[in-house]
Amino acid sequence: MSTLLDSHREDASRRDWQHILHLDAALLFGLVALSTLGLFVLYSSAGGDENLLIRQIIRLGLAFGTMSIIAQLRPQWLQRWTPWLYSIGLALLVAVLAVGDIGKGAQRWLDLGFVRFQPSEMMKLAVPMMVAWYLSDKRLPPTGRRLLIAGALIIVPVMLIARQPDLGTSLLIGSAGFFALFLAGLSWRLLGGLTLLAAAGAPLLWHFMHDYQRQRVITFLDPEQDPLGAGYHIIQSKIAIGSGGLFGKGWLNGTQAHLEFLPERSTDFIFAVLGEEFGLVGIGVLLLIYSFIIFRSLYIATQAQDTFGRLLGGSLAMTFFIYIIVNTGMVTGLLPVVGLPLPMVSYGGTSMVTLMAGFGILMSIHTHRKLLPT
């Protein structure tokens, strides 16, 4: 991998196709490899449903298209529009709580007449952008009043989304903001203090949780207590992964998935299908691709030439990581069940488009650098 990065550094000095198209070859390679692997797993988990596969391919096309378009936008332009994006997003979140549609027992959707829109998706990008924007002209590390303001920029949308309720997304947005702050140099002492505060505040959080959220936590702590109810998901996905062993049962041969024991096998629990059919080796390949993408994204962030680009790029890279770790942690029974898809693999559209828009931003940051003579 290092040779690949080294060679790229040399390439950066020339105005090659990557800079003309504003795309990053390494990142693109990682994302294409990931989507391809994802399609194989999805084909199996959907029981060979080709229509579903075609719909996913169309979504992937849409997502890659979005990424390519965003990549063309100059980071400075993005930076200028950030406060507007954030403000509109915040306003829409309030609107959703007021008049939003109820889907799957939670208010997440806003019906604009021609399209159903999920403002929380927009905030996945808008929040780290806003934090990066706010800190871009401040001295780092942020302290005191600046830290409080940055914190408020994060907490307000997180609380609004948690109220919908959408624990997964609010967690993701919270961590996106958090990583922007962390990369900006948030002091470790403060971090330790906040952790203690969070531990102390847990009972308070419990008090504000919805019943189904509490149930998920209880189920996470002891899945066997309700093997046919809430614990069923975790038990069955552990069986799927565990029975896959080192090399898996073979593509299209997963009994847990194909005999319908595994719930939500095309969406949130698709990781278990991979584990069952391709074993530890298959999961290893997926984790390698993910690691490569994260590493490349973080590298892009470090190469950014301003604070906005650095903080935004790093935050997007770490959000991608949080996506992965929360989903895989949930499916393997390490974390409670939180409704987050496995990025680029799970079936589903909105989150994929948002994610790829994020990679578009990363590519924009990387390919719009002003090249300094060395």
Partner: protein
């Protein structure tokens, strides 16, 4: 805002960011390492455990019940068959509104109150998510009607299976018996693993005695199911081994003729081949339809059967214990000869009654005017009571008991139909043990004419007659001749346990007694001479008229005046042909009256059928 605040130290910030990026990467690396550790635990260390759970999830083992062996008569006529049948089953947990479902089903198939009641009872006993049968043996029309509306009834299914059927119904009921649904009592005596999937078990008769032979052994099917339990495919199939077929010694045609001959009278007929103990006919009447019991009889019908005065459920041939009456006389006479107490030519004078020395009580002969001077042959032919009073008294109860026991009186024959009773052959010891009373000589007298304490079953009588016909060569009576492994053509004859023969003192004694019995039916003064008339073969017989209650001295028996239930039982034993006996018969007609008038003609019909039918 002060200017110094906006002055950014780009180099410092760049370095800070790099430092923090590395820290974030380490953080991510640690979490991924934890994830990988977890995966290694799940997929490598606990792999076996999860493989087992996964297989448990998808693989279910279903029993394949074996087909029950069939039962044929000696000529290959089927007596117990397995017919394809459809039953309607409901899995209550899958039904939302049971009442509505049952009401709806009642419009498609005939559901009686009995079915609903049984369904409720079975439901209470059935584990959850197991189907409960509602109706058995649906007609084709009912199956078709339900099939059309099937989608409207989730949890309701039609299941094809085999159902035991007895094509001859009541005719073979008491011999073959029947199967019924396995109940709690059965569960205690069977190995449930070998009966998994089996719903029925032999309850009575041969079906019970030969349960092990008929049942076969259970097979298994490993199936892959989905989360809803729907069977997707069979992985491994161990086929069941069907039960063995039984070929009986019974001759269904003879059985039918005997049954017809007995008409609607209560009684029993047992015909045995003396040469080997084959039971040729085994009739007990009235009988019942065994098909009623196969899938559960409704309480009303069952109550009617149980409370019927004529006791159709009572197996008279096997369990009916009757005084043998005069049919015992040939055996008593033979005992007198063999034990040297009397001789062929010894005479006794019969004045029509007998008195014990020094006692006033008169033991009466059935013929009030007396038989005059009689020897043994005449005494048997004319059934002279006085001769046998005298002989019995000379023998004494001990020797009488000893000799009659040799013929199997007072003990079970050991026939292969379960539930046999032993009858009663009284002795001093028996009386002391059961009644704590001494034996009185008067009791010996009446025992000598087959009255008093003596009780025999029709089967015992037939078996003893067969032994007499074969000069003491005893054969254990049996109903099953051979078994046949499923799919084989060959029959495996069933070994019959040998019984020691009676040791003969003088063969001529047997000739004498058999001659007396021949005189009964074919002599000039024989009690059943009308029955013997016109027979195309020589045969031997003995009539018996057993008193249901004792007559007082000087009281005359008047059949017409007595209620039918108190009328004498009519008995007859016979074997034929005389020289090479092929059939021995015992007939008991309850409250039939005189043996010669009622039971004897029936025996003749049975023998005619067996001996004169064209050889096929």
């Amino acid at each position: 805002m002060p200017a110094r605040v906006t002055i950014k130290d780009y180099l410092f910030e760049s370095r800070l960011f790099m430092q923090r990026s590395v820290q974030a990467l380490v953080f991510a690396g640690i979490l991924i390492a934890i994830l990988v550790g977890r995966l290694i635990y799940l997929q490598v260390l606990a792999h076996e455990h999860y493989i087992t759970l996964s297989d448990d999830n998808r693989i279910k083992i279903l029993p394949l019940p074996p087909n029950r062996g069939l039962i044929f008569d000696r000529n290959g006529l089927i007596l117990a068959d397995n017919l394809p049948s459809y039953r309607l089953e409901i899995t209550p947990e899958q039904v939302h509104d049971m009442e509505a479902t049952l009401d709806g089903l009642a419009k498609l198939v005939n559901i009686r109150d009995v079915d609903r009641k049984r369904f409720d009872q079975l439901r209470a006993r059935t584990p959850v998510f197991k189907p409960v049968p509602l109706r058995f043996r649906l007609s084709d029309e009912e199956v078709a009607r339900f099939a059309v509306d099937r989608h409207r009834y989730p949890g309701v299914d039609i299941v094809a299976g085999l159902s035991r059927h007895y094509p001859h119904g009541p005719l073979t009921a008491h011999a073959v018996g029947y199967v019924g649904r396995i109940d709690e009592r059965d569960l205690q005596r069977i190995d449930t693993s070998t009966y998994s999937g089996t719903t029925h078990i032999g309850k009575v008769g041969l079906e019970k005695t030969y349960e092990k032979t008929l049942h076969g052994s259970v097979g298994y099917r490993q199936v892959e199911t989905n989360a809803e339990g729907r069977i997707l495919r069979t992985l491994v199939r161990t086929p069941p081994v069907p039960g063995n077929n039984l070929y009986l010694t019974l001759d269904a045609e003879l059985q039918n003729v005997a049954d017809q001959a007995l008409g609607d009278k209560a009684g029993a007929i047992v015909a045995i081949d003396p040469n080997n103990g084959d039971v040729l006919a085994f009739v007990s009447k009235p009988a019942y339809d065994p098909n009623l019991f196969v899938n559960g009889i409704d309480t009303k019908t069952y109550k009617a059967l149980r409370e019927d005065d004529k006791q159709p459920l009572f197996n008279r041939a096997l369990r009916g214990q009757y005084p043998p009456g005069s049919t015992l006389k040939p055996f008593v006479g033979l005992g007198g000869l063999e034990q040297g107490i009397t001789s062929e030519h010894a005479h006794t004078y019969c004045p029509g009654f007998y008195q014990l020395p020094g006692k006033a009580r008169k033991y009466r002969d059935w013929k009030r005017s007396g038989h005059g001077t009689v020897d043994l042959v005449t005494a048997i032919a004319q059934s002279c009571d006085v001769y046998f009073y005298d002989l019995a008294l000379s023998m004494g109860i001990d020797r009488l008991h000893e000799f009659l026991a040799k013929f199997g009186f007072g003990e079970r024959t050991g026939i292969d139909i379960s539930g046999e009773l032993a009858g009663l052959l009284p002795s001093r010891q028996w009386k002391r043990a059961t009644r704590n009373l001494p034996w009185f000589p008067g009791e010996t007298l009446i025992a000598g004419i087959g009255q008093g304490f003596v009780l025999t079953t029709p089967l015992q009588l037939a078996s003893a007659t067969a032994t007499l016909a074969r000069y003491g060569n005893r054969k254990k009576p049996h109903v099953v001749a051979s078994t046949q492994i499923y799919g084989d053509i060959e029959l495996t004859p069933l070994q019959v346990e040998p019984v020691p023969d009676i040791v003969i003192e003088d063969r001529h004694n047997w000739d004498t007694v058999i001659h007396g019995m021949h005189e009964v039916v074919q002599g000039r003064h024989g009690t059943a001479r009308k029955v013997g008339r016109g027979a195309k073969y020589p045969f031997a017989g003995k009539t018996g008229t057993a008193q249901v209650f004792g007559l007082k001295e000087e009281e005359k028996y008047d059949a017409k005046k007595l209620a039918e239930k108190l009328r004498d039982h009519s008995l007859f034993i016979a074997f034929a042909p005389l020289d090479k006996p092929r059939i021995a018969v015992a007939v008991v007609v309850e409250n039939g009256g005189s043996g010669s008038a009622v039971a004897a003609p029936i025996a003749r019909i049975v023998m005619d059928q067996y001996l004169l039918k064209p050889e096929s």
